[in-house]
Each structure stands twice: as structure tokens, then as C-alpha cells.
């Protein structure tokens, strides 16, 4: 069976009318995935066999990979951490159930930085995914495995990913794929292994804007099991892909070009000019609190992470050691053995920022600065439909370059993605062009629940 270049859309049209042998297709998918795994390591767990779809639905027979911090019933879920090795969730996340109820099939669990702690998918307890465009380079993080399999697969597939501070946009930009991060609360977080509860968002990475719009239509929706889940009606987001973009107003924040590689700046400006040619108008604007979003984001994220990670103590699931010493000694030994270096660093930072005497100066201050960042966006969206910027300040870096960076230098790489994540607004990264043969992402952001606008512009741009 020739499956090369078959799109998700075409595949679903064919499975709908029964014009495709799903057993043959599944065998091809597994064979192809195994060969990709050998070359690029996108999976922590790859299934031996794809199960038949549960139902006929919007995703009938479509392989979906799931980031390994999203629970899948009966299938190991580690969040990329040794401390969760062997954990078999007795339930699936709501979004996974939604996918299976629409006939989607789970292909495997994708590699990630431990608990989402990273920008380059190098803090991985189960091997580092490599960029299919150049194996000496990172495929971005923390949803690195998701972007890797999306870029490498020759079969129709969409990846379920997750972002806290840019973990969907960054890997999409580095691999030339499309990454959609929805409004905070639009997709239920039930069954997601928390990094930072007020920031985590489940989203998708696909080969096309249609793919991510389709998967969002399946996973979005209110869930009583997640108290932060928004009470909004379900929507078919693919309907936004048919419209043109005449008259749409785009804001271009000047702060998002500071310190960005010149060649990347040119590619992104060319993209904005293309949007103008398609009928949109643009204007340069200022989001004055952008540079403060980085420290605010990190302080909030590590503070929340350090409380979330308190539950890993070798008693109920994951890594267990022999019960020795008192509870303090046992818990500390398990945690010191199970967490990787970046996890330990963030636990220390987060515990410090919440400690008596420092809490007001760090944690509370960061939350107030977050309010200012949100106000910047609110003001901008009174005037503009969408904001456009580069997704990342660099193209996918080589692993030997990453090794030389100090933790603060790595954190600084997130400067363009943390502000929209702090504000919880939707964003999409689409391939805008190339620099030195490597993809550059155009980042489009819109107001709360205005996914339709970024999908509409992204689709028009990619057509």
C-alpha cells in the first residue's frame, strides 16, 4: 500500500467509506515507526500492534501519538522521568478517551523533557529524540518526541502534546511542523501529570493546520473532573479554515524581535508581508512587560512544580526502593534517585521561591507581574485580531551547542513563548521559511477562545 504523502484529511475520507484496509495500514505504521524509532528515538513506549478503532468517528483509524505525561490506561506513562518508571495508569486522560471515542488509535507515548522541564528535550530519562532534519540537532522541547514523530512519519498521524511555557510551539518551530496551544482550560487537564497547574495546556502537533484544528475539535470541551475546565460548547475548528483573511488586523510586537537572529527576523517579516498580500493589515505595537514575563513565568512555574512533585515518594506508584530508615530518609532517598538534575534544580528554585521570608518577594511578585503581562495582551486584543512574531529566537541548535549553555541561558531561550503561556491565550506556530536549511516558526497569538482567528490566518498563510 502506498501511504507516502497521504494526508490526514484524505486518509479519513478513505476510512470513512471503507476504501482502506486498516489492518494493512496499521502494520505499515508500526513498521515505519520502528524504523523511525531506531533513527530518531521519538518514543518512550511504542506499541507492538495498533488496536482496532473502538468506534467509527471523526478520527476513524487515525494513529495518534500521546506525550508521555498524559495518562493512557494500561500503558506505561512516565512523564519522561525515572521516578515514574513502570507506572501503569488505571485510567486514561479525558482527551485520550475523547480521541478513542472518535475512532482514533494510540500509536505510542512520546519522549519529553522530564515533567516538561526543558526547551530542547535533552533532560530525558529514556533517551533524547533527535531532529529528523539533522540528527545532530534538537527537535525542541519539551514535546520533542511529538514533533519528532510528526516530522518523520510518512503516514497520516497527529500528535497529542502539552505546553506549560512553550513546549508545543518550540518543538513545532524546530521541526517545521504545526503546533497549536489552545486557551488555558479549553482542553481538560484530567489525566495530565501536572507540571504547573495554572499554566499547563494540552494541545496538538501536526503536519498541517487542518490536522491540529481537527484534533482540537475532538479534545476540547468541558469536563467536570477538571475544575479549571471552561464551560464552552464544543466546536468544529476545521470550519475556520475555509475563510479568507481580508480585513484582519495583525499586531506585530516590537519586543518580540529583540535579540532574535537577523535571518529569522527577515523570514518572519516576509511572512507578515505575505499576510498583508493576502488582505490582512498590520501595525507595529509594544507589549512593554515582555521582558519581565520570563522571570515571572519561571518563578510561578517552578513554584507550582515543586509542590506538584512533592507526591513522588516511592510509596504508591513509580520508583520504589527497599523500605529502609524513617519516612524522611526513605522519601529523600527515593526522590534523590528518581529525579534528574533539571527536576532537582527546579524543585530547589520553586521551594526557595515559596519559603517563608522569600515568598512575597518572588512568588507573589511574579503573580502580580503576570497580571501586567495579561493586561498588555488585553489592551492589544482590543485593537488587533492576532499578534504575529517569531516563535523562537534561534533555529534548532546542535546538541554540542546546548551542552555549553548554563541553566539561565537555556531559560532565556523561552523569552518569546512564555508571555502568551502566562496569559493562557491560544497560539499556533507554523513553518514560515528556512534559515540555513532549518525551519523557522511564525507564531500567531489571539485572545481567549479565539482559536478560530489564528487557525484562519495560519491556514491562509500555509495554503
Amino acid at each position: 500500500m502506498k501511504l507516502e504523502k497521504i494526508s490526514v484529511k484524505e486518509f479519513l475520507l478513505r476510512t470513512k467509506v471503507g476504501d482502506l484496509d486498516l489492518e494493512d495500514f496499521s502494520a505499515h505504521v508500526i513498521e515505519n515507526s520502528r524504523s523511525i524509532q531506531k533513527k530518531y528515538n521519538p518514543f518512550i513506549t511504542l506499541k507492538d500492534k495498533i488496536q482496532a478503532p473502538q468506534k467509527k468517528g471523526k478520527l476513524f483509524g487515525l494513529p495518534i501519538s500521546v506525550k508521555d505525561n498524559i495518562c493512557t490506561k494500561g500503558m506505561q506513562t512516565t512523564a519522561g522521568s525515572k521516578i515514574l518508571e513502570g507506572y501503569i495508569p488505571p485510567f486514561s486522560a479525558t482527551c485520550v478517551d475523547n480521541i478513542m471515542n472518535e475512532g482514533g488509535v494510540i500509536l505510542g507515548k512520546t519522549a519529553m523533557d522530564e515533567f516538561g522541564f526543558g526547551t530542547f528535550s535533552i533532560n530525558c530519562a529514556y533517551g533524547i529524540p533527535k531532529n529528523p532534519l539533522d540528527t545532530d540537532r534538537s527537535c525542541g522541547g519539551s514535546s520533542g518526541g511529538a514533533s519528532c514523530i510528526t516530522a518523520a512519519a510518512d503516514f497520516p498521524h497527529i500528535a497529542l502534546a502539552e505546553s506549560t511555557g512553550g513546549s508545543i510551539s518550540c518543538p513545532a518551530a524546530f521541526t517545521g511542523t504545526v503546533g497549536l496551544t489552545p486557551t488555558y482550560g479549553l482542553v481538560s487537564r484530567w489525566g495530565l501529570i501536572d507540571y504547573a497547574n495554572s499554566l499547563d495546556k494540552i494541545g496538538c502537533i501536526g503536519k498541517s493546520v487542518y490536522d491540529v484544528a481537527l484534533l482540537l475539535s475532538v479534545i476540547a470541551g468541558n469536563d467536570p473532573r477538571d475544575s479549571t475546565s471552561l464551560n464552552v460548547p464544543k466546536e468544529d475548528y476545521t470550519k475556520f479554515l475555509k475563510k479568507d483573511i481580508k480585513g484582519m488586523k495583525i499586531g506585530v510586537p516590537e519586543e518580540y524581535f529583540e535579540g532574535v537572529d537577523e535571518k529569522i527576523t527577515k523570514v518572519v517579516w516576509d511572512a507578515i508581508k505575505k499576510l498583508e498580500d493576502l488582505g490582512a493589515t498590520y501595525e507595529e505595537i509594544s507589549l512593554p512587560h515582555t521582558k519581565y514575563s520570563l522571570p515571572a513565568y519561571y518563578i510561578i512555574a517552578v513554584s507550582e512544580a515543586s509542590t506538584n512533585l512533592a507526591k513522588y515518594c516511592g510509596m504508591r506508584y513509580g520508583l520504589h526502593l527497599q523500605l529502609q530508615g524513617n519516612f524522611d530518609e526513605y522519601f529523600s532517598t527515593v526522590r534523590s534517585n528518581g529525579f534528574g538534575e533539571e527536576a532537582k534544580r527546579r524543585i530547589i528554585l520553586g521551594t526557595f521561591a515559596r519559603m517563608a521570608g522569600y515568598r512575597d518577594a518572588y512568588y507573589l511578585k511574579a503573580l502580580k507581574v503576570r497580571t501586567k503581562v495579561i493586561e498588555d495582551f488585553k489592551k492589544a486584543f482590543k485593537q488587533f485580531d492576532v499578534l504575529a512574531a517569531p516563535t523562537m529566537p534561534i533555529v534548532a541548535p546542535r546538541f554540542d551547542e546546548i551542552e555549553k549553555l548554563s541553566p539561565i541561558e537555556v531559560y532565556m531561550m523561552d523569552i518569546l513563548t512564555v508571555a502568551p503561556n502566562l496569559a493562557g491565550i491560544p497560539m499556533i506556530s507554523v513553518p514560515a521559511g528556512k534559515v540555513g536549511g532549518l525551519p523557522v516558526g511564525l507564531h500567531l497569538m489571539s485572545d481567549y477562545l479565539q482559536e478560530g482567528k489564528i487557525l484562519q490566518i495560519a491556514n491562509a498563510f500555509c495554503l
Binding site: S198, P295, A310, C313, L323, F327, Y330, T351
Partner: protein, 96 residues
């Protein structure tokens, strides 16, 4: 904010003890330098005037959601993932 030079190995050790992490001497030394670096860079937050600004614990206003107060049985086996159990209980380390 704390002046970065006041961050030393002793503080890192105290924080690690609070977080139930046993750090090696090497880790304490490394984290002390890195934490100094990070907090020095984060001092820029002091430039933002946040007088009369309310903190945003969430990106949007979140209202409390309540479920009906009735007991439910687990639909799954809570002890399925533990290696330390006795009968129907989790077995933990000594408390004292």
C-alpha cells in the same frame, strides 16, 4: 529580593532538606552557583511597579466547581501500582 551573594551552600542545603532531596556536595556547589545566576537575572522583576496590582493565580478568573457530596467506590484498583502493600493497605516507611 534577596541579594545574590547571600545565597550559599547552607541555604541550598536547607531548601533541599525542606524539599526532601539529598544533594551531594558536588550538587550543592553547582546549584549554589546556578541559583545565584538565575536569581540575579530575575531581579529585573523589581523594576515593575506592582503597587495596587492584584496577583493572577490563574490566567483567567476561575470559579469554584462543586460536585455532589456523595461517596463513590474506586472503579479501579488503587494498590495496582505499589510494590509496598500489606493486605488492602499501602505500606510506608517508619514514622519515627
Amino acid at each position: 529580593m534577596l541579594d545574590y551573594w547571600k545565597i550559599d551552600g547552607e541555604l541550598i542545603k536547607r531548601v533541599a532538606d525542606n524539599a526532601r532531596l539529598k544533594l551531594t556536595e558536588e550538587e550543592i556547589e553547582k546549584f549554589t552557583i546556578q541559583l545565584k545566576d538565575v536569581l540575579q537575572a530575575f531581579k529585573s522583576l523589581d523594576e515593575v511597579d506592582t503597587n495596587d496590582v492584584k496577583p493572577s493565580f490563574h490566567p483567567q478568573k476561575i470559579s469554584d466547581v462543586y460536585r455532589e457530596d456523595k461517596s463513590e467506590k474506586f472503579s479501579w484498583e488503587p494498590l495496582a501500582n505499589t510494590k509496598h502493600k500489606e493486605g488492602k493497605y499501602f505500606k510506608g516507611p517508619r514514622i519515627v
